[in-house]
């Protein structure tokens, strides 16, 4: 068994060193460091504890990169063998389940842990900058390492459980998302339910969820280590469970180097590893078992005739789910709206159909998040779906230009967004004005710019990577937001000065048009050209 493990370990290390993706992850880590240093440099005159700010940023980016790696890099450990149909060959070579799980997962974990280790000397710079002590740095890196081990083993479990890399990535993303948001959801649910509706046992169970999650939450632990009374935030969103214990000692930097989060993460990771090893055989059927069949495989409903815009029809009906799914989404939106309306009623506010205050704001945010998720999912999948099914060459021989194919694909996906957009407008119309008060013009234009950029980036990345387009987009779009904001605002300022010098009044509409134009010209258009060229290149392969 030992020789099997070492062979697989060495081979995986070699393959990883030849593959592009691990180098992208490493470049991501290096970029994160550079980004953190540059951000801290901009803060040099604005804060008294620059070292803490720098280190907090390093930790934030590390958490982000580790989480994204879990969804994209670690998750293919076993599924890449299943996808390539080589899993059976490994078994024929005499490798047992333990050899495979150990050999395939540990090499990636070790190379990723090494990235954390080599960061450490650079982050000791934050001690010199002030605001953080060496024991805080060591404790934070141990917390991050434990989080990485947990995420890697969760990804391994998903990789064992699922037949393809895509499904495994989906399961890993859902599980991590569920873990991160579960404490908030359970607390919000408990807060919203009137007394007497739920049994004492259920209330106790729901009440214990945040405490359990807090024990293995890297966000809580980092907030504790860094003495962050505001909680651990990424892009302004607090991911802590709300049960972080910030003592005077932790604010002073006197923290335990190894705490409960480290041990509980390792224990959970070990349990996941054991389950993965034990269930490997059971879940390792070939990826594509839908072979030749004499039995008729039919669909019971018709999708209707193909439109004249055939590619848009195909995208809408077969990629986004079609009319049935669109109606289901619309009805689900109605249920969400009715749910917020019901909670408002329970709170004692009856205002006809309208939502007021926080209820309208949270309903609006829910629909906006749904729209964002849909846009990112569609943009990362619509081109990749053709690559996966090897249909680009067939599509390229029809007498439709590549640009029109891409535009029709966009149109097909845009139709599927209608339910979410409709509910955003309904919420806006039926709101008491809170949404309009909370949304500044800058916020709206920033959101639209970022959505446009992220969707283009996801589409482009999906033509290069197999399943990692979406997590990579999130990873790249985060720092890109800071990089793009300044030039766009700068260009807008230049335009404003130019307009004023020619006695042109810069209205909100005009400035919005200018912003959109600059964004399209300097950000989206180059991406669009890149997507088209890559699409054509793939069609030729």
């Amino acid at each position: 068994m030992i020789s099997g493990v070492t062979t697989l370990f060495n081979w995986t290390l070699k393959m990883d060193s030849k593959s592009v993706y691990p180098h992208i992850v490493r470049a991501g880590f290096a970029g994160a460091m550079l980004f953190a240093i540059s951000m801290s440099f901009t803060d040099v005159f604005g804060t008294g504890s620059m070292g803490l700010r720098f280190f907090e940023l390093v930790c934030t980016l590390n958490v982000l990169i580790i989480t994204v790696s879990g969804i994209s890099y670690f998750v293919t450990a076993v599924t890449e063998e299943k996808d390539a149909g080589t899993y059976a060959l490994l078994r024929l070579a005499g490798m047992n389940s333990l050899s495979i799980t150990l050999g395939k997962s540990t090499s990636r974990l070790v190379s990723s842990l090494m990235l954390l280790v080599i960061q450490m000397p650079f982050t000791f710079l934050s001690i010199t900058l002030g605001g953080v002590l060496w024991n805080q740095i060591v404790a934070a890196y141990l917390a991050l390492a434990a989080w990485m081990i947990l995420v890697a083993n969760l990804a391994l479990f998903c990789s064992v459980r699922c037949a393809t890399s895509g499904r495994a990535a989906g399961l890993a993303a859902t599980t991590i998302g569920f873990f991160v948001f579960l404490p908030r959801i359970s607390s919000a649910f408990l807060g919203a339910i009137p007394p007497g509706v739920l049994s004492t046992g259920t209330i106790a169970f729901l009440g214990s969820i945040p405490a359990v999650c807090s024990k293995i939450s890297v966000f809580d632990r980092l907030a504790e280590i860094l003495g962050l009374t505001s909680g651990f935030t990424i892009l302004g969103i607090d991911f802590s469970t709300g049960l972080t214990t910030i003592s005077t000692a932790s604010i002073k930097g006197e923290v335990l180097i190894v705490a409960g989060q480290f041990w509980s993460s390792l224990l959970t990771a070990l349990v996941l590893f054991v389950i993965s090893t034990v269930t490997l055989d059971f879940w390792s059927a070939p990826a594509d078992t839908a072979g030749p069949s004499e039995n008729k495989s039919v669909r019971r409903w018709s999708v209707g005739r193909c439109w004249n815009l055939s590619v848009a029809w195909k995208e809408f009906l077969f990629f986004t789910g079609g009319r049935t799914f669109a109606i289901a989404k619309f009805l689900a939106g109605g249920l969400v709206f009715a749910g917020f309306r019901m909670f408002q009623e329970m709170d004692g506010y009856s205002n006809g159909l309208a939502l007021r205050g926080d209820y309208s704001w949270w309903a609006f945010l829910t629909f906006m998040m749904t729209l964002t998720a849909e846009v990112l999912l569609y943009s990362s999948g619509c081109l990749f779906d053709e690559v996966r099914q090897q249909t680009q060459s067939t599509l390229a021989t029809v007498p439709i230009s590549s640009v029109r194919i891409l535009v029709e694909k966009f149109a097909g996906c845009a139709i599927a967004l209608i339910p979410a957009i409709v509910w955003i407008f309904i919420t806006l119309i039926l709101s008491d004005g809170t949404i309009v008060r909370n949304c500044s013009a800058t916020m709206v234009s920033s959101y639209l710019i970022m959505l446009g950029f992220a969707s283009h980036l996801a589409a482009l990345l999906s033509l290069y990577t197999r399943w990692a387009a979406l997590p990579l987009t999130i990873l790249l779009a985060t720092p890109a937001f800071f990089c793009m904001a300044a030039p766009i605002l700068g260009l807008t300022a230049v335009t404003s000065v130019f307009a004023r010098s020619h006695n042109i009044e810069v209205t909100l509409l005009l400035s919005s048009i200018i912003n959109v134009f600059w964004t399209w010209m300097f950000v989206l258009l180059p991406l669009q050209i890149w997507i088209r060229d890559r699409w054509i290149a793939l069609s030729q392969q």
Binding site: K296, R299, A396, V398
Partner: protein
């Protein structure tokens, strides 16, 4: 000024086609021509440049050098017109597995701009031709490999192209599906289509094709009618004689006929088969007339032809291209 009619314009005309990928010369001065309403085979070892040539013809690839024309339209400058007249079937399954057979064909018919009413007729016709009418509402994911290949062929035919470009259409098919596919291709030729078929199955190509092009290491080794390729490479033809019964004196008696140079038995002799080489001045007719006077019970008399396998081996180079 000369008038060019449709039949005088080649279906495919490839002139001095060259293409390189990252320093690797995939095609070098490839020149050949395919006449309309013929079944043309395109053969070569793995990595010879078959798929690259096919991609250049079907507008997927812009070659570095040379000219490709399809029915007189330049692939480089008039790709939309070329696409309307060709149907390309790649060497891999390129299908939307979540669609039914009808939806798949309807999608491509719409992509080629056919109106709804015409689509119904066309889809019915192509499904009948490929014998898939009974499975029109089946999901593609549930079809066997042979059936998926038929659906691919039906897809290629929905816009009634004049030229079909088929890249390894029989690969991975069982013998029955292969024979049935060849029957469909014969039927398409009878319907007036030009079929350009790249394949490794030489025996089937020899039976099926009117003409053939052999490519090796990016260069054309032969292009022309199949008959010419299969003729014996010797200047003087060799004839095969087959008798119904074994005759001990037959060989000696044939040797004594005027104009006969040599008579030999083939490698695996049965006592009834003979290879006959005639003198340069002797015609086959004259020899046959004299042969009948010997009163032997003759079953067959034919000119010996090379097998396509042999021609292929003679023209191509051993080993893998590096």
């Amino acid at each position: 000024m000369s008038t060019i009619t449709r039949d005088t314009v080649p279906a495919i005309s490839v002139t001095n086609l060259s293409h390189a990928f990252k320093g690797h010369q995939a095609l070098s001065q490839v020149t050949f021509c395919v006449m309309p309403q013929t079944l043309h085979g395109f053969v070569g070892p793995n990595g010879a440049g078959k798929t690259t040539t096919l991609k250049a013809i079907c507008t997927l690839l812009k070659p570095n050098w040379g000219e490709v024309q399809v029915f007189g339209h330049s692939v480089r400058n008039d790709s939309v017109a070329v696409r309307r007249r060709i149907g390309f079937m790649p060497d891999h399954f390129s299908m939307y597995r979540q669609m039914t057979v009808f939806e798949y064909l309807d999608f491509f018919a719409a992509a080629y701009g056919l109106p709804v009413r015409q689509r119904d007729t066309v889809i019915h016709d192509v499904l009948t031709l490929t014998d898939m009418e009974g499975r029109r509402d089946d999901l593609i994911s549930g079809l066997s490999r042979g059936m998926q290949q038929r659906v691919s062929l039906a897809r290629v035919l929905v816009h009634d192209p004049d030229l079909l470009l088929l890249d390894e259409p029989a690969s991975g098919l069982d013998p029955r599906a292969r024979i049935e596919l060849m029957e469909i291709l014969r039927e398409l030729r009878r319907m007036g289509k030009t079929v350009f078929i790249s394949s490794h199955i030489l025996s089937e190509l020899a039976e099926l094709c009117d003409s053939v092009t052999i490519i090796d290491r990016g260069q054309i080794k032969f292009s022309g009618p199949m008959d010419i390729l299969l003729e014996s490479p010797d200047e003087r033809p060799l004839y095969n004689l087959k008798l119904a019964t074994i005759s001990e004196t037959a060989m000696q008696r044939i040797k004594e006929l005027p104009g006969v140079e040599t008579v030999s038995e083939p490698e695996f002799a049965t006592g009834r088969d003979y290879n006959i080489q005639l003198a340069p001045a002797t015609s086959a007719n004259e020899f046959l007339r004299q042969l009948l006077t010997l009163d032997l019970s003759i079953t067959s008399f034919s000119q010996q032809r090379r097998h396509l396998n042999q021609a292929f081996m003679d023209l191509t180079t051993r080993g893998v291209r590096t």
